[in-house]
Symmetry: C2
Subunit: 333 residues, 2 copies
């Protein structure tokens, strides 16, 4: 197995940086769109084990990346908690629940057995590269439940946090996410990535008080399963300094961070940092901006190439392929 | 004159922190909406000297703030440059120009004489508090010209920056903004605030290369007019560390910054930091979050209370008034 990503995160000697991309199996790929058409709605699609396994595998053949991530959605563990998730055509998710935290349920990883089957399917179909399992961060899932979409700046979530009424729900989310991740690890994933996109909207103080406290508990618990953990968050430039003691193995940052300085100060492995919009530019710019980043990485290991956020539906497959090849051709001196 | 804001920025001894609010004359105020109804479109409104003077003055009587800001729009200096600005009902601005940087014109402050008349009008109508003039940051104005709205993450602006084709336009914007600010100062404003909201979307590296370089030039030039300069920007948590040498007197930060640590490291005065969404909460929360911030300010001077961004149209006047009173009642020990 090409275990470059595991070796890089552990700090072992490598001759090039590993690469995978967030949302690497996604709408920008004609082959994904073809699979996606086989189910009418997105929830049915991510619950369809056969189609989700096929989607997960696409980037291996098409992009030749160094890791696969299972095809799924961060909202999956909310459903057995009592939150119904629906995706309307061309829109984001809509969440339906009674708004009463007391009615939220403890879950078992068997409640989302389709996720375990997808993992087993991806592992059985290939042994070339490691497989990444994932979940949302406790804060990000809470904000989906309370605000549905971040476009209004998470007004409901903030009011709930400030009222002091969210603590139990965040505690329950941590417990349930630990169980959910445990199932993924038992099913065979080689790494876990936690996606915490929406902390971006918080103040520095609220990030500390309402996101970081639960996050540290959560990451500490899932680290006990002995699989490397990557923590991805938006607002990296603001909140990175609060994460110095985060027990994750790798911190995945957006493009607002001065990664050179950060990698000199932190003991974690780092992932990401390239502005995804570079993929809207011409090949020459893609090459230049990517090499500029790789050349400035101050370490010869403990870095995983990725974008600062996920690929967008209107990006071009050929440019994404080119980006991966640029990273793979860069030799660590 | 109540010159508390000037004294606080200079670092003189004060017994309470000064307060004003970005967008303090705005749609959340019934009295503003009444004035606004007298002109059909927003451009006609901000060009109407009598109405804009009246709008500028509203917060003095209604909120009892320590400074007034002239009612205007950051897009004003673009019009004499050759960029037509229109506001459609209930939408953001739309900009019309030929897209050719070479056709952009040098301006004289006399091209926007209505702004000078508004300043003279506000100064003549009251001498109780200082009057703040303002303009957009060079980068933020360029992004309006190229993307119109930040909702798509400034795709066009970034592609233009990376192509190297924006340099002259940024240079011209700096020259024109210096002239525009000079006019405001000659007309009598007591301070200048530069609004650079859209740098938020840049990578750390791009902020350095494409925003900060021009910004430093610009602030240095306007500092020569001997009026205190406040620099406001979003993405404060990410980019503050690039601004250590910024020749502004005061840095106005959003809520992503750890202001306690920042004020210990920087020699500038600071402004802002409170998450504006606190104003959607109940009075008790408004009071608690505001006092939490004021109590943690590590200096006894060189701070100006403000929100981390502007007031929103759906905020309540009574809560805004309450916020101002909470700040004014806090005594510096």
């Amino acid at each position: 197995m090409n275990d470059l990503i595991l070796r890089s995160i552990r700090g072992e000697k490598i001759d090039r940086f590993p690469v995978w991309l967030m949302r690497q199996a996604g709408r920008y790929m004609p082959q994904y769109r073809e699979l996606r058409e086989k189910e009418r709605d997105f929830v049915s699609f991510y619950k369809n084990v056969d189609l989700s396994v096929k989607a997960s595998l696409l980037p291996l053949e098409l992009l030749e990346v160094d890791a696969l991530i299972i095809f799924s959605d961060i909202l999956v563990p909310l459903e057995p908690m009592g939150v119904e998730v629906r995706f309307e055509e061309g829109e984001g998710p809509k969440l339906y629940w009674d708004g009463n935290f007391k009615s939220l349920k403890r879950i078992s990883y068997e409640d989302t057995s389709f996720v375990l089957e997808i993992i087993r399917g991806v592992k059985a179909s290939q042994s070339e590269v490691p497989v990444i399992g994932f979940c949302g961060g406790p804060f990000t899932l809470l904000s989906y439940m309370l605000d549905g979409s971040p476009h209004k700046g998470l007004r409901n979530t903030k009011l709930c946090l400030w009222s002091g009424e969210c603590k139990q729900a965040l505690g329950l989310l941590v417990e349930n996410l630990v169980e959910y991740v445990k199932g993924q690890i038992l099913a065979g994933v080689d790494l876990i990535q936690v996606f915490d996109s929406w902390v971006l909207h918080l103040s520095y103080e609220d990030f500390e008080d309402y996101a970081n406290v639960y996050l540290k508990d959560f990451i500490k618990s899932i680290k006990e399963f002995n699989v490397p953990v990557i923590y991805f968050f938006r607002g990296s430039g603001s909140f990175l300094k609060a994460l110095k003691d985060l027990p994750a193995d790798c911190i995945s940052v957006d493009w607002t961070v001065d990664i050179v300085e950060s990698m000199e100060v932190y003991s974690h492995a780092f992932q990401g940092n390239l502005d995804p919009y570079v993929l809207y530019a011409d090949l020459e710019t893609i090459r230049r901006k990517t090499l500029d980043l790789l050349r400035c990485i101050p370490r010869k290991t403990r870095y995983v190439f990725n974008l600062g956020h996920g690929l967008m539906p209107d990006m071009e497959l050929e440019k994404v392929k080119y980006l991966v090849q640029v990273v793979k051709s860069y030799r660590i001196a």
